[in-house]
Amino acid sequence: MRWLLQTLAVARVFLRRYLFHPVNLAATLVLPVMIALIFGSADERAAMNLPLGAVVEGASPSGEQFIDTLEAEPGVTVRMFEDRAQLLRAVRRTDVVGGVVVPEGFDAAPGGAQVLLIADDGDPLHAAAGIVTTAVAGRFGADPATYMDRIEIAPALASEGGRSLGFPRAAAGMLVYWVFANAMFAAALITEDRRRGMLSRLASTPTPAMSIVVGEVGGRFFVALGQSIVVAFVSSLVLGTAWGAVVPLAAVLITASAVAAGLSVLLGVSLRGPTTQSATAALAAAGVLGLLGGCFWATDFVPPVMRTVAKLTPHAWVIDALDELVAQNAGVVDIAPQLAVLGLLAVALVVLAAARLRHALLAPVAAT
């Protein structure tokens, strides 16, 4: 009982130091949802929108009609330009993913009319723009009543190997990034305690080393888990993100939080130097891990080597599991490989962190 109270006291001290700081609170609760909103809305547009540029050269009612037909296609938005030079610039700048030029004399050539499509065949979005433009060109002149309301698009289906896009993907990426970034930033608190001799003073009290170790890891675990739950809940409310079934989601969030807590303590006892330097180094490492692990973009679109590298980070395993919950409606059994990897990693990190923290506690002041 006494041991438990001592452990809780250590955890409570950490929680008070960490959570009572406005910047930490913002980074824990507000920023993940805000950035997910920016990423998510952009990702939704990237996944579903085909922004095309267009120029109608000369007065051409048929040309205008062609552009109107193009704009009525699913997902297509058309931005008009004054001339070809401006359109070409927009294509090169990637402001649009293809440019349609309706040349002068389009009206005068019924049956033999032609439009130009400025597109780079090497780009997948340009290829999609080419297909849609060709499809519209292929039916131009047909009675819209025979095709406009005759095609129904059904709601998207979860599928094996499917991957989420838009808000769900962005929310998952930001949840994982900020859980690990905040945990790694919190590592600096242990570095500060070491420098100020707090760990040594703590070790000289009757508090057992194991209470300190469990308290430090436990405090971080509850911050990470609490943040995950809040971000998942708020993003469901604000962004409409569906996270799949509760039990597998809970399993993912618990294992991810345990990995983050272990990593935080291990990093804290491993870093040297002033607190601000340790915090900077921890944040830089968090950024690199987030980039590699697919927090900011889907690893499905990166080269195979980067996909392999991503698997070296815990982030990629968490995102992979969350992705399966959202896009494939997966259960605990389906995500067992990811949970096993995260579980093993959590155990390894916590054991290693505990051993090093114990060592730091028991070491003489000069050595710490």
Binding site: A42, P74, V91, R92, L117, D121, P124, E160
Partner: protein, 358 residues
Amino acid sequence: MKVGGAGLGGTVRGSWILLRRELAQLVRDPIAILTILVAPIVIAVIASVSLGAERSFDVTIAVSGVDEESVATAIDSAKGQADIDIIVIPPHSAEEVIRRGDADAAVVVTESADGPSAIVLGAVGAEMATSVAASVARTAVAQPLTEAVAVERVAPGRAPLGGSEIYGPVIAVFIVLFGVGFVARSLHSERQQGTLIRLLASPISPTAVLISKGALMFVVGVVEFLAIIFTTTIWFGADWGDPLSVALVTVLVVLLSIAIATAIAGFSRSSAQALALEAAVALTLVGVGGHMVPMRNLPDIAAIVARYTPNGAAIDAFAEVSIGSSLGVIAGRLLIVVAFTLVIGIAGAVRIRKVLVS
């Protein structure tokens, strides 16, 4: 040793000596080297490799129903260079095929008294393939097809901006903006340690102290930019465009960061406040300035706002320089950067002098 003295010459000499001291400290600090030189390169490499990969529109579309051949023909004739596989599936199996992951989208054509119609199904994450399939399905059922228009494909000449050309400038501006707090933190730290008051008691003027900090930031900012420019150019073949124009935009962005740093130092009272202000300013600018995603994917209003932020205008200017636009084209963007720099810089300079003198 007399290092300062009155007048402009004294200020310059004092600034130079302080700058040399700061630079000497910086190059001996492994964390500083990590954040100034290594982190920008690592981030540029990761982003360029990840986002610059060659991709194709590689999808599988399943077709079934009464007029499956016409849908397959319509897809085949429209696909151009795209890598589209067409599979013909038995009726009523479209949903199963999608759920199994055997196809990204499926077109099921049905016949009614009014003529053919179709349902298009797609997998989560394959929304673009679903839209494209719907477009082609419309063509397959359209009647009558008498005035079809030919589409001639034309290459855009210079290829559209690649991953490293889009994200190189984005990362460079991002890194410089996130480094603005270190001057403020360094000033507050010197104040807390008492070295600042001793420095100001010497013949070195407050102006010389400020100029040395600004010069240090300038050097650091330019080094960060150069690291990213060289990395993306040499490893990934990024074309940043005319070197003089690139240099001009770079210098203006670095001056902007110095102005923001001065303001943060002037308006914060401690290292902790400086850190909080730095995070707030940098994250706001990065979020609003359209750093994180291509501008075309932002909602319209967000794209307009992004272009009028100093960092958004600078990134836009880099994109224009990269595709070969002249200085005249980017003049408006540069004016936005200069205007922000002047307003923020002057406010910060007035404030920080008071802080230093007090």
